[in-house]
Point group: C2
Chain length 167, copies 2
């Protein structure tokens, strides 16, 4: 039988997986929230669906569960400072939002105006796994730029991933 | 109400999200399988858990469900050809495996010998979302290199993401 993997071993190994950096917003009756997330991926295109993982112990988790909608904004290298703010650089949600421009999507969520892509989602389902929630989001509308490099997180650092669209 | 998002719009938008490239293997009573996946992320470190999405229409899905174990191997730029093989470059599973070296993990899964990281998982849970399965994997053991650049997929191309560990 395997001896098991410690939290530290797991975290160090996951630091070696490059991941896209996103700001996930929510708004609605429960209030406005937003956090930086790297655990996001596509699930299926029938119907268009993605998922995002969030710590259930976060005070913000209840906002997402109550508002039942969120927007995943995929960041470019120009958004490093904004990513840090939404990762806890300030706890003041007003200050986080004041640092960028936002556009209201068809589903009512708030999209970062210059995100590489924004996915406007309704919260279709939630799966609880250990300490975390897996939010399953049905994509109701989206905005996408046709240019822009990607911001990734790898080896606990931000890295610019160049777009090959222009080459 | 939102007008909805077409499959093509969704796929084009998701192509603009950079993602790590992985080969996910399974073995056991049902036989040996393996495919290239970019939809993988960390879920929680209590207990160490990740997830991978897989098309439920794939013939291989039944192997994963029956074997109840899998290994996520995170690739480096040197694995582009291997990634293409496991993405369908050949349907012959023997040929796919013959193209690389493998190591048996504590949990019995097969790890790519020179992967940047390999996560040896038991299939803890499966959530069905549209056409796809979300496999929740409990990490039983792992192997990790302390060097190596990452292979990402962005704008429908492979991109090398440089490690900053040496800098």
């Amino acid at each position: 039988m395997p001896a098991g993997v410690s939290r530290t071993e797991f975290r160090n190994a996951m630091a070696r997986v490059c991941a896209p950096v996103n700001i996930v917003t929510t708004n609605g009756p429960a209030g406005r929230g937003g956090f930086t997330a790297t655990a996001m991926c596509s699930v299926t295109d029938e119907p268009p669906t993605l998922l995002v993982c969030m710590n259930g112990r976060s005070a913000q988790a209840q906002l997402f569960l109550a508002n039942k909608r969120f927007c995943v904004n995929v960041l470019t290298p120009e958004h490093r400072d904004l990513a840090n703010l939404f990762a806890g650089g300030t706890a003041d949600m007003g200050a986080r939002y004041a640092a960028a421009s936002w556009i209201t999507m068809a589903g009512g969520t708030e999209a970062l105006a210059d995100a590489i892509v924004s996915f406007d989602c309704t919260l279709e389902d939630v799966q609880r796994v250990g300490t975390h929630h897996v939010f399953i989001g049905r994509v109701e509308s989206l905005r996408a730029r046709t240019d822009g490099n990607a911001l990734a997180y790898f080896d606990r650092n931000y890295v610019q991933v160049p777009s090959l669209l222009a080459s």
